[in-house]
């Protein structure tokens, strides 16, 4: 296993290097980062020349890539092209916010999805199973932006009708979030709606996986054997079926988590959450390629790491799987 991990890590370095070149090349050729300045009347030509020289924008792409890679490795992705603003502190900040959002959403989704999936499998073709199936497909089909707006409208109206602030509709914290438990409560009130929005699609996906896996397991020979040995049904389910049924879900969750690291663009934009997705959109709008490249590199790293974690976890949970 250790050899496998080391080998995968080494592969990952190569993959990241190739990814970095592709990211740099594609983002760079997508447009002139100073085009907006050049089109703005009155912007000093000297300023444009200064920035061009400082950021080597006149050099060939391969040379610029070298400078950028150097900055990425030795200076935490360096600074923005316009404004010389350090990139990494901003990414660290938004990454923290996105992690809060996706960890809460994943916890909620996993907990509910497992419960729904297991119960649906055990009561296959029951009313509950049909309802769970219907709501799962509904959850998968509901557009995130629409659901987000509907929840906002709902809770704004709750506030207007009863003067009770249950959840906030935008941003990550209140004007005066306070400290300690007040801060936690305030953060929870702000994160609740995006967490719900994010969870609903995941609950739908995960519960379908869980149901399928559970059905497969409870109809397998070893579970039949366990029952034939006279074990109590609860023990058969929890000890023999449930644990094994979790394996496929673990992989899905790990991969999904890796993808979510990039932020959930729509959710974060609608709720004005200062997360990775929001950062990406702002970086794109600003036309500055360096924050975009840094973001893409970090997301690529996240995807690679979580892919690796998924494989390792799979091996640990299922002893039949061996990584040679």
């Amino acid at each position: 296993m250790l050899t496998y991990i080391i080998r995968r890590l080494l592969y990952s370095v190569v993959v990241l290097l190739v990814a970095s070149f592709l990211i740099f090349t594609f983002v760079t050729v997508s447009g002139d980062p100073l085009s907006f300045l050049k089109m703005s009347p009155g912007v000093s030509q000297e300023t444009i020349a200064n920035i061009t020289e400082r950021k080597h924008l006149d050099d060939p792409i391969i040379v610029r890539y070298g400078y950028w890679l150097r900055d990425a490795v030795t200076d935490q992705f360096g600074t923005t092209i316009i404004g010389e603003r350090k990139i990494m502190p901003d990414i660290q900040r938004v990454m923290g916010h996105t992690l809060q959002l996706i960890i809460a959403a994943e916890l909620l989704a996993i907990t509910l999805a497992i419960s729904i999936g297991v119960y649906s499998a055990l009561r296959q073709y029951s009313v509950f199973d049909y309802l769970a199936t219907t709501f799962s497909f509904l959850g998968l089909a509901t557009p995130v932006f629409w659901l987000a707006l509907m929840l906002q409208v709902l809770f704004v109206n709750v506030y207007l009708w009863w003067d009770i602030r249950i959840f906030y509709t935008a941003n990550l914290s209140g004007v005066d979030p306070g400290g300690g438990i007040d801060f936690v409560l305030d953060r929870a009130q702000h994160l609740a709606l995006p967490v719900i929005v994010l969870s609903i699609a995941n609950i739908a996906t995960y519960s379908r996986y869980m149901r399928g896996a559970m059905l497969e397991v409870i109809n397998s020979d070893y579970v039949r054997t366990a029952r034939a040995k006279g074990l109590k049904e609860r023990r058969v389910i929890m000890r023999h079926a449930f644990r094994n049924a979790l394996i496929p879900l673990t992989t899905v969750v790990a991969l999904n988590f890796g993808a979510l690291i990039g932020g959930v663009v729509v959710t974060e934009t609608v709720f004005a959450l200062d997360g990775m997705g929001f950062y990406f959109i702002n970086a794109l709008n600003s036309g500055d390629p360096y924050p975009v490249m840094a973001w893409l590199m970090i997301v690529s790293t996240g995807v690679i790491v979580f892919n690796l974690l998924a494989d390792i976890t799979y091996g640990i949970l299922d002893p039949r799987v061996r990584h040679d």
């Binding site: 404004g83 916890l107 004007v175 023990r235 929001f278």
Partner: protein, 546 residues
């Protein structure tokens, strides 16, 4: 087994409770008394508005309250002294020499006096070639700056018409600029204030907090304790936040949600014309339609479009502005309806379809309709220039422009002039500068000093004269206006130029985009401002009864 099941259940319950439980029981929280929360769709990139990333409206909303200006624009776009003791005076015409004094009671929040040295340090920072200054236009024309205490005397190398706006901007503290890397100055906060508010904190991506500057004596002290800027880029969320009192004031783009808010008694919606104006430009260059080089054709186009209809369809009928009076039809290419120098030169081209037909017929055009007819399919052909069928270039995906086009197309078709849509994503970035179009519709973004630089748009060889329009009389007057510091003389020159342009019709002013300022009725003192000074221009006078 049972124990494990209990643990699993407990874990599930905790996870759910962590997210939902505390929130449901939380007490409603409101901004404390004396605080007004402003929602804005864009967050500043920096608080240094000397450099390019700080050259944004959202930045000036904050910085103007903290780093006070020599003068600021009021709601009628007139400069009024803020840190200056009075209006700056021209003491000599040749060379242009200006003198002003800073108020005796103007001081920084750290106790130091605001003096002429601060103004000079700001000037020097702008002129320092190491920094990414947005523009040095005008500053480069300054020959010398003499400071005596709080009095500053500036001598220009050559007359610079926009001198008053140039010298009246934010004054930066000399003691902070000394030795600083201006490109990296004030990226995350402002450590000193000369305005009615001082900077407190900036939670990036969420909010920026200003507090009353207790040491401010150079004007009215702030009535509010705090002013909070919340950044919400999504329009729908911005309005939901407004309804739920998470924010109390906002300045949205024209959106249909404004109509709903206008009906709500809890809010007061102010709207009025701003400096951004939509217009139709005609191409005079070799790639444009030959007919557009004929004045009578351009005049026919101007009379064939009902600009009131366009204004009504875009803003009045949807209920965005309360009445047509709040958004007059634009009748000038140089000034806006709220400006003192505005004259309705283009009003002579009122909508008159019969006049269009008779004008074209008088000039020998044939093949068009005898009378205006909605179902007309006959298109005029004019001597030497062919059919009056024009390529209409504008941006794709802009609903307001699409609607404007539809109205203009239908109205012109009924008098025998055809518009062919050429909507493209690169309509402004590539097609417009290429000059390969007949008619282009787009917006000029302007400000109070735009009239001074009208030469760039309408002068022969002007930087942004994409029409290739050239009338020597107009050009000479506009050129001269750029270097005429005297307001009255300059106004006369610009009126002279525009009178000729109104006859030439190189371009048709369509409408001024309205600005909106929405506030809860609990917040008083709000007053819409059409300039870059923005809605917070008088924020020291705001009060809240919440």
């Amino acid at each position: 087994m049972r124990k494990k099941a209990i643990w699993l259940f407990a874990a599930a319950l905790s996870a759910t409770a962590l997210v939902v439980g505390p929130t449901a029981s939380a007490e409603p929280s409101r901004a404390s008394a004396g605080t007004v929360v402003i929602g804005h769709d864009q967050e500043p990139a920096t608080l240094n508005n000397l450099i390019t990333p700080g050259n944004a409206y959202t930045t000036s909303l904050v910085t103007n309250l903290v780093l006070a200006s020599g003068q600021r624009y009021n709601s009628r776009a007139v400069l009024v002294p803020q840190l200056f003791a009075g209006k700056p005076r021209i003491t000599r015409n040749r060379p242009l020499t200006i003198r002003f004094s800073i108020k005796a009671n103007a001081r920084w929040s750290d106790g130091r006096q605001v003096t002429g040295n601060d103004w000079r340090a700001t000037y020097r920072a702008i002129m320092d070639r190491r920094w990414d200054i947005t523009s040095r236009e005008g500053w480069e024309d300054i020959r010398s700056v003499a400071v005596r205490g709080k009095t500053v005397t500036i001598v220009f190398r050559r007359p610079y018409a926009a001198w008053e706006a140039l010298i009246s901007g934010n004054i930066y503290p000399a003691h902070k600029l000394a030795g600083a890397n201006v490109n990296q100055l004030y990226q995350s906060g402002l450590d000193v204030s000369s305005g009615p508010y001082r900077f407190v904190s900036w939670q990036k991506g969420t909010q920026l907090v200003l507090q009353k500057n207790a040491r401010f004596r150079a004007g009215s002290a702030a009535r509010l304790d705090r002013l909070v800027f919340r950044y919400i880029p999504n329009t729908a969320s911005l309005f939901q936040s407004l309804r739920s009192n998470e924010i109390q004031v906002t300045e949205p783009q024209p959106q249909l949600q404004i109509v709903e808010i206008r009906r709500n008694n809890a809010f007061r919606v102010q709207s009025g014309p701003g400096y951004f104006f939509e217009h139709l430009d005609f191409q005079f260059g070799p790639q444009g339609h030959a007919a557009l080089k004929r004045r009578y054709v351009r005049q026919a186009l101007a009379m064939g479009i009902n600009r009131s209809d366009v204004r009504n369809a875009l803003y009045v009928q949807p209920g965005l502005v309360a009445s047509a009076r709040q958004l007059p039809v634009l009748q000038s290419l140089i000034w806006k309806p709220f400006e003192a120098n505005y004259r309705a030169f283009f009003a002579r081209w009122g909508f008159n379809q019969r006049n269009v037909i008779s004008l074209l017929r008088r000039n020998g055009c044939t093949g068009g309709p005898a009378t205006p007819n909605r179902n007309n399919n006959d298109i005029w052909s004019c001597p030497g220039v062919g059919r009056l069928s024009f390529r209409f270039n504008t941006t794709a995906g802009n609903q307001l422009r699409a609607l404007t086009f539809e109205i203009a197309q239908a109205q012109l078709k009924s008098v025998g002039i055809e518009l062919q849509p050429r909507f493209a994503a690169n309509a402004l970035t590539q097609i417009l500068p290429s000059r390969d179009w007949d008619i282009s519709m787009f917006t000029w973004l302007g400000g109070p000093t735009s009239s001074i630089t009208a030469f760039a748009l309408y002068g022969c060889g002007g930087d942004q004269n994409y029409m290739t329009y050239c009338n020597r009389s107009v050009s000479n007057a506009l050129q001269k206006a750029q270097f005429t510091p005297n307001n009255v003389q300059r106004r006369n020159l610009l009126h002279q130029a525009e009178r000729i342009m109104a006859n030439d019709v190189p371009s048709i002013p369509m409408y001024v985009r309205p600005g909106f300022l929405i506030g809860r009725r609990t917040v008083t003192g709000l007053s819409i401002n059409p300039t870059q000074q923005g809605s917070t221009w008088n924020a020291e006078l705001w009060r809240t009864s919440q």
